[in-house]
C-alpha cells in the first residue's frame, strides 16, 4: 500500500488509513458493529508501516474516550472509535470535554447503524454532537470519510474542540477504490500545560467555558471550506423553486437516483458536509431562494431542526421522509418522487420468502449453557445481555436485552420487585452475560447487587473473547490489541472481590454436571444466608482454530431409534441437526457439525450416539443443505 496508489478499502480501513496519514498517535476503541474494523485496521496498518501509535481495545467506551482525550491534552492527535450506542456509554466524558476543549486534535468516531441491523437503537450520533455542542462531519463514502479526517483534525486544533466523524454502516462496510496519501509522523513533543481553570474547571469556571464554546460554534458555522456544497451548479441558474438537501449516504443515494431520473439539470442538490453547526448563511439563502426544500438525512432530523420556517421544509418531521428505519435507495426514491410531484416508481413486490435467522454456531458452548439452564430451571426469568449469546433467544433462555451489562442490574431489580411483595419468593432468576460484557459494565452492577442483597444465579459465559464483533481480546485474554502480552485478569478472583461466595467454574459441554451445578446454585440462592450465585461457564470459542483443534472430537450418529420428535432440533437448536420432513427423522449436516458431542445428552429416545467405525449409510437424504 503505497502513497499515490489506489487501493480497495473498506470504509473502516479508509478511516484507519486517514488517521495514519494525519499523524494520529493514539487510537482507542471498544468493539461494536459497524465500527469494529477501525481499530484492528489501525493496528495492522501501523505494523505494516512501522508507525508508532498507542492502540487499545479499552474495557468500555467511556474509558476509551477518557484515555484518548488525555493524549490530546498533551498536544498530540488522538482518536476514539465506537458504535453509536457506545457513544451513550462515553457521553459523560463527551459532554464535559466540549467545555474543557482539547489541544492536540481529537476525533470522536461514532459509527451509526440505521435500521438498525445490530443495535438496540438507531439513534443519530450527530444529534449527540449537537447535544454536546461539538461539530460533526457526515461522510457519504469511504473516500470521503478518509478525506474528512485531515480537515476534522485541523478544525479540532484551530478551535481546540473535540470533533466528531459520523460514518454509517453503508460507509463503514462499503468498499471503494481509495487513493492513498503519505503516512505522516508528526514531530510533536508531548507536554502537559498546567491550567486547572480549564482542565479542572469547577462550576463557576464552567460558565465561562460555556460562553467560549458558544462562540466557537458560531465561528465554525461560518467556516466556508466545510460549508454545504451545491452538487449541480447548472441547476441553480434556472428558475427552480424546489431543492433537495442531503448528507451522508442518503446524499449518495439521492445523487444517484437524481442522475438516473435526469433531475440534476433542474433541481439543485446540496450536500451538507458538517450537519452541525449548520452554516446560518446557507440556511438563510435556502429559505429565501426556494419555496420547498426536501431534507434527506438519517436517522434524526438534525439539519432539518436547524432550518427554521418549517412551512417550507419537507423532511422527517413532516412525514415526507420516514422517521424510522434505514433510508435505502427505494425509500428515498419514493420520497423524492412524491416531493417533486412525480408518479411513484412501480417496483416489483419482493417475495415473502423464509429468511434464514441467525443462530449460534454448531458446537458453541453457549448453546450447551442455555440448554442446561432451561433444563435445570425451566420456570425462571432469564435476563440477558449483548453478544453472540443473545441468540439464546432461540432456546427460549433469554428474556431481556437492554444495553451493555444491564442484565445483572435488571436481575437485581426483578428480585427486589418480587421480594417486597407478598409473594416473598419470586420465580428463580438466571442471568447470562458474556466475559467481555462483564468486564465492560458488569462489575459495578455485580458489586451493587451483592451489596443491596439481591439473589439470583449469574452465569458468566466465558469464551475468552469478544466474539460477536470479531474476536477482539478482553482483559481475560492476556494480550493487547496488537498481540503484545498483557496481564491476564482472572474472572474467578474478580467475582470473589465483588463479594460473591458461591463461585464455581465449569465447562458447559459437560451437560449433566452443569445442570446439577445450576440446581445447586438455585438452592444456595434460597438459603437464609444466600446471595448471588455465580457460575463461570468456561469454554473457548470454537471459532478460535487453536481452541477447536485442542478439544476432543466425538463423532456422533443418529440411529434408527429416531422417531422425529424434534426435541433436538427445537430445544437444542443446533444448526448441524437437520429435520427431514419426508423421512420424519433428523440427520447430521457433516459440513456444519464440529463433533462437539454435546447432543449425545439430548435425545429422549437415545437415538443420538457415538459413531461406530462402521459408517451407517442412510444418514444423508437426497437434498443437500449447503453450508452457511
Amino acid at each position: 500500500m503505497k502513497a499515490g496508489e489506489l487501493e480497495i478499502l473498506l470504509g473502516n480501513e479508509a478511516i484507519a488509513r486517514g488517521l495514519l496519514e494525519n499523524g494520529c498517535t493514539m487510537a482507542t476503541s471498544y468493539p461494536g458493529t459497524p465500527a469494529s474494523e477501525i481499530l484492528s485496521s489501525v493496528v495492522e496498518m501501523a505494523r505494516e508501516n512501522g508507525y508508532r501509535i498507542h492502540t487499545e481495545w479499552s474495557i468500555n467506551e467511556k474509558v476509551a474516550f477518557e484515555v484518548a482525550l488525555a493524549n490530546s491534552y498533551l498536544g498530540l492527535r488522538s482518536a476514539v472509535s465506537m458504535k453509536q450506542v457506545g457513544l451513550n456509554v462515553a457521553a459523560d466524558p463527551l459532554m464535559s470535554s466540549a467545555y474543557t476543549g482539547v489541544l492536540g486534535g481529537f476525533l470522536v468516531i461514532s459509527a451509526d447503524d440505521p435500521g438498525p441491523y445490530s443495535s438496540q437503537t438507531e439513534q443519530d450520533s450527530r444529534f449527540l454532537a449537537m447535544f454536546a455542542k461539538i461539530p460533526v462531519f457526515d461522510p457519504a463514502s469511504p473516500r470521503q470519510a478518509k478525506e474528512m479526517i485531515g480537515t476534522a483534525f485541523e478544525l479540532s486544533e484551530k478551535y481546540q474542540l473535540p470533533v466528531m466523524l459520523r460514518p454509517t454502516t453503508r460507509v463503514c462496510h462499503a468498499r471503494q477504490d481509495v487513493p492513498l496519501g503519505s503516512i505522516l509522523e508528526l514531530e510533536r513533543t508531548p507536554r502537559f500545560q498546567r491550567d486547572p481553570g480549564r482542565w479542572a474547571a469547577t462550576p463557576g469556571f464552567r460558565y465561562q467555558l460555556h460562553l467560549q464554546l458558544n462562540e466557537k460554534l458560531k465561528q465554525i458555522g461560518r467556516e466556508i471550506n466545510i460549508g454545504p456544497r451545491l452538487i449541480n451548479p447548472k441547476a441553480r441558474a434556472g428558475s427552480a423553486t424546489q431543492c433537495v438537501v442531503a448528507s451522508g449516504v442518503a446524499l449518495a443515494h439521492v445523487y444517484e437516483i437524481m442522475e438516473e431520473l435526469e433531475l440534476l439539470e433542474r433541481i439543485p442538490l446540496f450536500q451538507v458536509l458538517v450537519p452541525y453547526p449548520l452554516n446560518p448563511e446557507f440556511a438563510g439563502e435556502l429559505l429565501q431562494d426556494f419555496d420547498q426544500i426536501l431534507v434527506v438525512e438519517e436517522t434524526y432530523p438534525v439539519i432539518e431542526l436547524q432550518l427554521r420556517h418549517q412551512d417550507k421544509i419537507a423532511g422527517r418531521l413532516t412525514g415526507a421522509v420516514p422517521n424510522a428505519g434505514e433510508l435505502d435507495p427505494l425509500t428515498i426514491e419514493q420520497s423524492l418522487r412524491r416531493f417533486l410531484g412525480l408518479a411513484p416508481a412501480s417496483i416489483p413486490e419482493p417475495k415473502e420468502a423464509k429468511e434464514r435467522p441467525p443462530t449460534l454456531c454448531a458446537g458453541c458452548s453457549h448453546r450447551a449453557a442455555f440448554y442446561a439452564i432451561k433444563k435445570a430451571m425451566p420456570k425462571a426469568i432469564y435476563p440477558s445481555d449483548i453478544g453472540c449469546y443473545t441468540l439464546g433467544l432461540n432456546l427460549g433462555a433469554v428474556d431481556t436485552c437492554l444495553c451493555m451489562g444491564a442484565c445483572i442490574s435488571q436481575a437485581a431489580g426483578f428480585y427486589h420487585g418480587f421480594a417486597r411483595s407478598e409473594l416473598q419468593m419470586g420465580p428463580p432468576i438466571v442471568v447470562t452475560i458474556g466475559d467481555s460484557t462483564f468486564f465492560h459494565a458488569g462489575i459495578p452492577a455485580l458489586i451493587n447487587a451483592v451489596q443491596q442483597g439481591a439473589r439470583f444465579i449469574l452465569v458468566i459465559l466465558d469464551n475468552s473473547t469478544t466474539a460477536m464483533t470479531g474476536f477482539q481480546p478482553t482483559p481475560g485474554s492476556g494480550k493487547t490489541a496488537d498481540g503484545s502480552p498483557a496481564t491476564m485478569f482472572d474472572l474467578f478472583e474478580i467475582v470473589k472481590a465483588c463479594g460473591v461466595t458461591f463461585i464455581h467454574e465449569a465447562d458447559p459441554y459437560q451437560l449433566p454436571e452443569f445442570i446439577a451445578l445450576i440446581k445447586e446454585a438455585a438452592i444456595y440462592c434460597r438459603k437464609p444466608d444466600g446471595s448471588v450465585a455465580v457460575i463461570i461457564a468456561k469454554h473457548a470459542c470454537i471459532m478460535d482454530k487453536e481452541a477447536l483443534a485442542a478439544q476432543p472430537r466425538i463423532k456422533v450418529e443418529i440411529g434408527e431409534e429416531c422417531n422425529g420428535c424434534r426435541i433436538c432440533v427445537d430445544q437444542f437448536e443446533c444448526p448441524a441437526l437437520i429435520y427431514d420432513a419426508e423421512g420424519n427423522r433428523v440427520y447430521i449436516d457433516r459440513l456444519l457439525c464440529i463433533d462437539c458431542g454435546v447432543c449425545l445428552e439430548v435425545c429422549p429416545s437415545e437415538a443420538i450416539k457415538k459413531a461406530n467405525k462402521r459408517q451407517t449409510t442412510k444418514t444423508v437424504p437426497k437434498v443437500h443443505k449447503a453450508k452457511k
Binding site: I8, A174, R175, K351, R356
Partner: protein
C-alpha cells in the same frame, strides 16, 4: 459471499474501473443471510436498487426468490445448485468444491463458471491477478483450482458421487 465481494472489487481495480460495494455484517453473520452488492462504474451509492442489477450470483438456492427482485429485466442469474430447470444458469459449485476437499471454495467455482459464461464485467485475467492479492500459499492454490473447476465445467457434466 464476503470473499467474492473482495475478489470482484480487486478485479475492478486491476481492470482500471471504479468500484463501490456493500456487505452485511454482525448479527446477520451468525448463520443469517448475507447479501453483497457490487457496483462497477462511476456510482455514488454502494447499494444496488431494486430492479437494476445486471447479475445475481446465488450461493444458497433458497435465497434466490428472496432477492430476485433486484434483477433488471434481461438481467442474468447464476445459482449454486444441483437442480436445473433451464430458467437460469446453474452449477453444483458446492458439489464440485467438495469433490476436491474444499467445500468453502464453492464461491470460486461459481465465479469461474460466471467468467466462462461471459456474465462478468471483467476478463479471466483480472480475476486471476486479483487472487494472489487476497490469498497466498496453499489457500491460493486451492482457490485457483476451484476457479478453474468452474471455468472448465460444462453444463451436463455430472460431478462424481459424494
Amino acid at each position: 459471499m464476503l470473499f467474492l465481494v473482495r475478489i470482484l472489487s480487486e478485479a475492478a481495480l486491476i481492470a482500471g474501473l471504479p468500484v463501490l460495494s456493500s456487505e452485511t455484517h454482525g448479527m446477520a453473520q451468525r448463520g443469517g443471510t448475507v447479501i453483497s452488492h457490487v457496483k462497477i462504474g462511476p456510482f455514488h451509492s454502494p447499494l444496488i436498487r431494486i430492479g437494476t442489477a445486471d447479475l445475481l450470483l446465488v450461493l444458497h438456492p433458497e435465497n434466490l426468490e428472496l432477492h430476485r427482485h433486484f434483477l433488471r429485466p434481461g438481467g442474468q442469474i447464476l445459482v449454486n445448485t444441483k437442480e436445473n430447470n433451464g430458467a437460469y444458469h446453474t452449477i453444483d459449485a458446492t458439489g464440485l468444491a467438495t469433490e476436491i476437499g474444499a467445500p468453502v471454495t464453492a464461491n470460486l467455482v461459481l465465479l469461474g463458471y460466471a467468467l466462462a459464461k461471459g456474465l462478468l464485467f471483467c476478463r479471466e485475467e483480472h480475476i486471476r491477478r486479483s487472487l494472489p492479492r487476497l490469498s497466498n500459499g496453499s489457500r491460493l492454490a486451492v482457490n485457483l483450482k476451484s476457479l478453474e473447476l468452474g471455468l472448465n465445467w460444462k453444463a451436463g457434466d455430472k460431478p462424481t458421487s459424494r
